[in-house]
């Protein structure tokens, strides 16, 4: 299999077939928590793409050059990765606050939330320790493949989140039965979205 084909498979797999929100069920808190407004969803998506790319790179380097050679990865990977993510997000927040106040205003409030966004930890662990998420595309990721995969996951997250936010804005003005108002109808909507995404299963043999 050619290099480009592998990239393509990893990417499509990450965006559609194993969509992190609707198929893998990861990062649902933010999915329901912030999807009631379009602006927030877009801001959060941008922040997630950025943080994920950096934290996955750091985790990949940490695993391949420190944890795996020393043979301590198996029982240290959880604290190590979460510390990288939390530490990076914290540094990042302080840095942006000091250097780019406008950017901080736009993105700042999402940064602390991202630490507990399961998608970041899940993607970081998957690229460092392939097979973690039990995907059919579990390769031994090279650094470039790790970037492709992470970008795909983040994009899949953004697509699902923004679509869902758009639907929720419509639901707000629609007549909904009283006991279903608010969260129940949101869950039923996401059930239908998830059902639609299961249709991608088997795409390109993934």
């Amino acid at each position: 299999m050619g290099e480009i084909q592998r990239f393509g498979l990893i990417f499509i797999g990450a965006v559609l077939v194993y969509n992190i929100l609707l198929i893998r069920f990861i990062a649902l808190c933010s999915f329901f928590g912030i999807s009631n407004s379009m602006d927030t969803s877009i801001g959060m998506s941008a922040a997630v793409v950025f943080v994920m790319m950096v934290s996955s790179t750091l985790s990949w380097l940490l695993w391949n050059y420190v944890l795996a050679p020393l043979g301590i990865g198996e029982f240290l990977y959880i604290p190590a990765f979460i510390f990288v993510i939390a530490g990076f997000v914290q540094l990042e927040e302080m840095f942006i606050r000091k250097t780019a106040p406008t950017l901080y205003k736009a993105m700042g409030i999402y940064l602390p939330l991202i630490t507990t966004n399961c998608a970041v930890l899940a993607a970081a662990t998957e690229i460092a320790k392939p097979g973690f998420l039990k995907l059919n595309i579990a390769y031994n990721y090279s650094l470039v493949e790790a970037w492709v995969y992470t970008f795909g996951v983040a994009l899949g997250y953004s697509v699902a989140l923004i679509l869902f936010a758009a639907i929720r804005e419509r639901i707000d003005i629609a007549p909904v039965a009283k006991p279903l108002k608010g969260y129940p109808i949101a869950f039923i909507t996401s059930a239908l979205m998830s059902l639609a995404f299961t249709g991608f299963a088997g795409l390109l043999g993934l």
Binding site: C29, G33, P79, Q90, T116, K134, Y183, F187, A191, L192
Partner: protein
């Protein structure tokens, strides 16, 4: 003592993390395919919740405000590693089924949320009670979800390799319920039922 009890009850019902605060959903929806999964996941999360609440409450005076979140996460992840390794060694079959959700307890919003909102501000005993209450609240919802989904989705309940309830061959189970979209649907219906019930009581 009265205070501790109300803290405990708060977590089980009034501020139930899953049904009221809508946090910690990922693991709850993904794991609740079977009652047994719900039980193990609930116990694992409760253990982490209680222990990390105690430690964070104990060190709250020496924790610098600016870097408190990384510190919380290191505490939490140590306990998650304990759970991860214990389950792997003693219950390999369960570990296989719960899969990624055990390591992902680290980023379970309930645990960090309670550390931030409760344990960082209150005493050790109150924090421990809060952890127990929140843990029980999480576990019972998981088990109810698991009960409905397993019973209706597969037609029987299997606990520790023994068939406890069997609806018999004439019941054709809607497999949809044990798939991912089914989880969303079930959870939405669960909140709906709860809303109808609480509204009636209120009026």
């Amino acid at each position: 003592m009265n205070g501790s009890l109300s803290v405990l009850k708060n977590g089980i019902a009034r501020e139930n993390a899953l049904l009221r605060l809508m946090i910690g959903l990922c693991s709850a929806l993904a794991v609740s395919v079977r009652v047994e999964n719900g039980l193990f996941m609930g116990v694992a999360a409760t253990f982490v919740l209680v222990m990390s609440n105690i430690i964070i409450s104990a060190i709250r005076r020496v924790t610098p405000d600016n870097i408190r979140i990384p510190i919380f996460l290191v505490v939490i992840s140590s306990f998650v590693t304990i759970v991860d390794l214990v389950l792997k060694a003693n219950f390999p079959a369960v570990y296989e089924r719960l899969g990624v959700w055990i390591p992902l307890i680290v980023v379970n919003c309930i645990i960090l949320g309670r550390a931030e909102a409760f344990a960082y501000k209150r005493g050790i005993v109150a924090s421990a009670m809060d952890g127990i209450g929140m843990g029980i609240g999480y576990t019972w919802v998981l088990m109810v979800m698991g009960l409905v989904r397993e019973l209706l989705g597969t037609g029987k309940i299997v606990l520790f390799d023994q068939v406890v309830i069997n609806l018999g061959p004439r019941f054709l189970p809607p497999v949809f319920l044990v798939t991912f979209p089914g989880a969303f649907l079930m959870f939405g219906l669960l909140i709906m039922v709860l809303n109808m019930f609480t509204n009636k009581v209120g009026s």
